[in-house]
């Protein structure tokens, strides 16, 4: 398995924008139009610019990549009594709350009708619905989700307790299930539109949405981790943003079956030919190999482009993964805290 052998995977990276629109675009737009009815149950994301989240000029993004359980950034932040802003993806909420770390802001983006609500606790989850979708149990993510019914009860309870203390940047593309659960839990809502297309282009869908709901439009970089980074830098205005749990890849020893698109890949190329889909990269900062799929590779390439254009500094403190490049300083979280927090 090598980068040069992954012809299909690399070719797909170039098409991910188009594929993403086909997969989620119409659903996201439909959600946004439906969520107009909830416009007044929350504020505009623009209001966050006037609020001081965390002390000082730093923010830590916590996403739910495979490094999270190995690096345990919440433990470090608690030990160091970090006072800056903590911005999490919704997928990292359970991890943070279990550790006793209540984030200042969490972000949600994906419009999927049934999966994303699981990060908030799904009040309607049943064993039957779990049998129909092994998305969470199969992947190399938070092992707390391995016992899914128990994990669901836990996050329901935790969010019912801590929800009112947590601000959420709630994408208008979010599903009905997510919106209902967010409102039920008492989280503090800040609405935003994800950029579905160029908001300045003629006949832009994004511009049409903004004209309808008057919410800011944010370039989410294709995924919620990148969106959280954008919130920290562009919305909260933090000049130094550190990333944790932003792997965009899997550890080299991770079985293929524990990856997001395993089933689709096997169905098409067979178990013996999976190397044609996955892309392997060496991370010189941690002296280790990682492998990724076309979607995560697209996130990486998009992130690097956005980071080059950003007016704030980005520090990748993930401790692994494939996100490294000119515009990103890579260092351990403890070193970032020593020097900047």
């Amino acid at each position: 398995m090598s980068e040069t052998q992954s012809n299909i995977g690399l070719q797909l990276v170039q098409k991910m924008g188009e594929l993403t629109w086909d997969r989620h675009g119409p659903m996201g737009v439909a959600n946004a139009k439906r969520n107009l009815a909830f416009r007044d149950q929350g504020k505009s994301l623009a209001a966050l610019r006037k609020e001081q989240l965390g002390e000082g000029d730093t923010a830590i993004v916590i996403a739910a990549g495979p490094s999270l359980k190995r690096q345990d950034p919440a433990k470090t932040l608690l030990e160091r009594n970090y006072k800056g802003a903590i911005v999490t993806t919704e997928s990292a909420l359970l991890y943070c709350l279990r550790q006793g770390l209540v984030p200042d802001l969490t972000v949600t983006l994906d419009p999927h009708a049934t999966r994303i609500v699981r990060w908030f606790g799904d009040p309607h989850l049943t064993r039957e619905s779990l049998k129909a979708d092994d998305y969470f149990s199969r992947q190399d993510m938070d092992k707390a989700f391995a016992d899914e019914m128990a994990a669901n009860q836990e996050i329901l309870s935790l969010l019912n307790t801590y929800g009112p203390r947590i601000r959420i940047a709630l994408s208008t593309s979010a599903s009905q299930a997510v919106v209902d659960r967010v409102l039920e839990s008492g989280m503090q809502v800040y609405w935003w539109n994800p950029m579905f297309d160029d908001p300045d282009a003629p006949d832009s869908i994004t511009a049409e949405l903004q004209a309808m709901n008057r919410f800011p439009c944010v370039n989410a970089g294709g995924n919620v981790g990148s969106a959280a980074w954008m919130m920290a830098g562009e919305v909260l205005g933090k000049p130094k943003v550190a990333l944790t749990g932003v792997d965009f890849s899997y550890y080299d020893e991770t079985p293929h079956r524990n990856t997001q698109y395993y089933k689709e890949a096997v169905a098409l190329v067979g178990e013996d030919n999976l190397d044609q889909v996955f892309i392997r990269l060496f991370n010189p900062h941690v002296n280790a190999w990682f492998y990724t799929d076309p979607a995560y590779m697209w996130y990486r390439e998009s992130f690097l482009e956005m980071a080059r254009d950003a007016e704030y500094q980005t520090f990748n403190c993930t401790g692994g993964g494939i996100l490294f490049g000119d515009a990103i300083a890579v260092c351990p979280l403890s070193e970032f805290l020593d020097k900047h927090a």
Binding site: I8, T20, T206, C217, N223
Partner: protein
């Protein structure tokens, strides 16, 4: 073009000029299937960051 190339014979099988043969190699099949399953959370636009609404107070 089809108006110019008129044959002077009756084809044994009817030909549909709108039908184009789809490549059926491994790569093409994967791409077609991938179209159904792959993709990120949301499409994005490179280079742009945030577009505030006109009435957002700075």
């Amino acid at each position: 073009m089809t108006s110019v190339l008129k044959g002077n014979f009756q084809a044994a099988k009817a030909v549909d000029a709108k039908t184009r043969a789809e490549p059926d190699d491994l790569e093409s099949r994967f791409e077609r299937e991938a179209m159904k399953k792959l993709g990120g959370s949301i499409a994005y636009v490179a280079k742009k960051k945030v577009k505030w609404a006109e009435d957002d107070a700075k």
